[in-house]
Amino acid sequence: MQLARVIGTVVATVKNDSLEGRKLLVVQTLDRNLEATGKPMVAVDAVGAGIGELVFWCRGKEASFPFKREDTPTDCTIIGIVDSEQHVTR
């Protein structure tokens, strides 16, 4: 799991049926000092995150676990919202 900032949204009307109704967000991964690192990714939202929020996300097959398991094709899912930056102890 890694920390990230939600920086945008993605709209895709035509998509695999198993992604129907899912919110797609662009996330920028952050390092331990909350500085941007690496390239932004598209993540499926499992917690109701919004733009500008500090979140953490999970990659790999486990990313599908918050949804109908074994039935949601995602390799990057937002699984939590960090309460505030002060809650990230460095």
Binding site: G8, A12, N16, V42, G52, G60, S64, P73, D75
Partner: protein, 88 residues
């Protein structure tokens, strides 16, 4: 998931039987601003995407979780055609 642009097609007659009937496309990962990166991936199309379209590509074992991909030997699948990307 990554954003990619479709560069071309792959035709393969001799392949795993579970891949028969599946469309194979060559895609290049792109940045959120639409600029190209390097490299490419061969991905199975699950949505009917076309040449030069921006698409969502899911990689790894999650690619098998797309509808119609159960037990298919793939590690990259196109699961959406992108209308807009809005980054602040």
């Amino acid at each position: 998931m990554i954003i990619a642009r479709i560069l071309g097609t792959v035709v393969s007659t001799q392949k795993d039987e579970r891949l028969s009937g599946k469309k194979l496309l060559i895609v290049r990962p792109i940045n959120v601003d639409g600029s190209d990166t390097t490299g490419y991936v061969v991905a199975v199309d699950t949505v009917g995407a076309g040449f030069h379209e921006r698409v969502l590509v899911v990689a790894g074992s999650s690619a098998r979780l797309a509808q119609g991909m159960k037990d298919v030997p793939v590690d990259a699948a196109i699961v959406g055609v992108i209308d807009t990307v809005d980054v602040n």
